[in-house]
Symmetry: C2
């Protein structure tokens, strides 16, 4: 049985992407050979997730004419990190300010420790100063809030993250609400979400993973205005803000969720799909409109006896099937995943620039 | 030419429902006689808006077998007002508290004066105490905010409304943000909208018109969970919060707006339509899925030489055409319109109950 490995969507959350209640039917792959799709070859075959039957996989492997363009999140995140590093250096030179990100970790979850370590390394790589507080599992809510308030008042800190999940005895909402909205680089504060939803208002920060999805679309020249978009999943940290961002970019947006009666039919109407359901291979080829752009946020472990770890990671979208129908797709891993930390660095820089009125 | 008459959607706004850019094509009515629709007769013929050609109207008039059920907003708003009056009386008797609503009116717009007068009358009718401040057109932003702050601190006031639109020299956002969120009975604060958008969070107040739309659906036993819903228009005061409310009630929601390329096709997929576009007769019979429920928020003036005023009010939905396709529909006037003030009274009562912890 594969372990409960989840990606760090929230930049601070560990496992808050709730899976759908769907059971995914296994059926024959539906090829659509008559459809005209841009003929860019698959960048990396190693990302194939093998969601379909072996005969279907063989058929896909030979069907090289209809492979979707791969949206390379590693490459884009590298570009963004380079841009952030450049701006951090300019800011330091011009006004002597170094952006600072504080991370508060409570308890000793291995996955959370890994995420925090990765964030720290990413900060160092671009010249952002990182601050870290590690508190024992049995800390009180008040102790956590005390540290948040100290960071709120510390002028060298421009972004504050509380690594989630918190121990069960703590009230997450109380703790997150203590973060000064001007330093809420995760963008989860309801005030930020409200501004995201409203016409004529702008949030101080956009949540990192949905912002990363949009950045992938923008940097790949995908037109959003006037297109039909479907977001699968409606979590506070990915699905809902992703839908609001697509809506702000003038797409016609529908949200598919666990109560949607015909998710396949609704999804097939979309020119752009952002899937954040947390269900391995939920989105089959038959769900996809020919030529659609697929952004796959899911990072789901599935059993794999051939892997030394006993499992491998796959997305929400059945990759091989999608490749024959979609015009572009993000792989898992290497698609949306690397974008989250890149956007966190970008939000921290943005915060420092705003606080110091540096253009 | 019909005057610029608009309904008071926001409970405080006068004319903020921006019209779409669509031009509505005039074409023959498409009857769908094979469709089975509940056979409830039209309650009031006087609400017919005559959006189609005279021959089509004649055809509709004889086609009584396929008339949609009329959702009577006057009746429902009367029920709600009676319920509010009952609770106001109980609260006064139990703890001696009378809910209070303060309205601030700046300038001397005739329509705004009418709305404020109507709110005052509605308050009196249910036993809510109303407070009113009238300021001259050339008041400063600071003067308006001074009055808001006084009401914020006045324990006898549980709801505060600033009648919109404000004079052009004032910053609406600054002024609205001064209203204590616990007394923001209009529910327009981004913090409220954010909570509306998020799973597991609840707003303190739901904006009055969208709340009225949902109440009409609930009280007419319309099942929302799992249904496809389309909201036409995405204003901060009606469209967007209506979409968020339908989403919270587990519908699969799509928003149609001015950049939607195929509004007719998208709308025809919906089991429930809330139209808040502000365009007379935008939604023709061909836009409507047989058996759909139509909630029409638009109140649009159209020229009418037969009327003594020279115009009449019609909705966004072509009423006669919709009646032959939909299973239920709100008339204009007498549908959503009367619900806005009823919801304002309900929000004011709710606020007083929360502040005084009265269940």
């Amino acid at each position: 049985m594969a372990p409960s490995v989840m990606s760090d969507f929230s930049s601070s959350a560990t496992a808050r992407l709730l899976p759908f209640r769907y059971t995914v039917p296994i059926r024959a792959v539906q090829f659509q050979p008559s459809v005209s799709i841009p003929l860019t070859p698959l960048r990396s075959r190693s990302t194939l997730s093998r969601c379909c039957s072996s005969s279907a996989v063989a058929a896909v492997a030979t069907n090289t004419d209809t492979f979707a363009k791969v949206i390379d999140g590693k490459l884009v995140s590298k570009q963004i990190k380079d841009e952030v590093a450049g701006e951090v250096a300019s800011m330091k030179e011009a006004i002597g300010v170094v952006p600072g990100l504080a991370v508060i970790l409570v308890g000793s979850r291995k996955d959370s420790q890994t995420y925090v370590r990765n964030k720290k390394k990413a900060c160092e790589a671009v010249g952002i100063k990182s601050y870290e507080v590690n508190l024992p599992e049995d800390s009180t809510e008040e102790e956590v809030i005390k540290h948040i308030l100290e960071f709120n008042n510390d002028p060298s800190v421009h972004g504050i993250l509380v690594q989630l999940p918190l121990p069960r005895h703590m009230n997450e909402e109380n703790i997150l609400n203590a973060v000064n909205i001007e330093k809420d680089v995760d963008g989860f504060h309801p005030l930020n979400i409200g501004r995201l939803a409203m016409q004529g208002r702008d949030p101080l920060f956009v949540p990192c993973t949905p912002k990363g999805c949009m950045e992938l679309l923008y940097r790949h020249g995908v037109e959003i205005k006037g297109k039909r978009a479907v977001v699968i999943g409606r979590s506070n940290i990915v699905g809902m803000p992703a839908a609001l961002l697509l809506q702000k970019a003038n797409a016609t947006v529908s949200i598919v969720h666990s109560h949607t009666k015909n998710p396949e039919e609704v999804t097939r109407q979309a020119d752009i799909v952002i899937s954040a359901a947390g269900v391995a291979n939920l989105v089959r080829g038959s769900w996809i409109k020919p030529g659609a752009v697929m952004i796959d946020v899911g990072i789901n472990p599935v059993d794999d006896a051939e892997s030394s770890r006993g499992y491998r990671l796959v997305g929400d979208v059945c990759y091989e099937e999608a490749c024959t129908v979609a015009s572009a797709i993000t792989p898992v891993p290497g698609g949306v995943g690397p974008m989250t930390i890149a956007m966190l660095l970008s939000n921290t820089l943005e915060s420092a620039k705003r606080i110091h009125n540096f253009k």
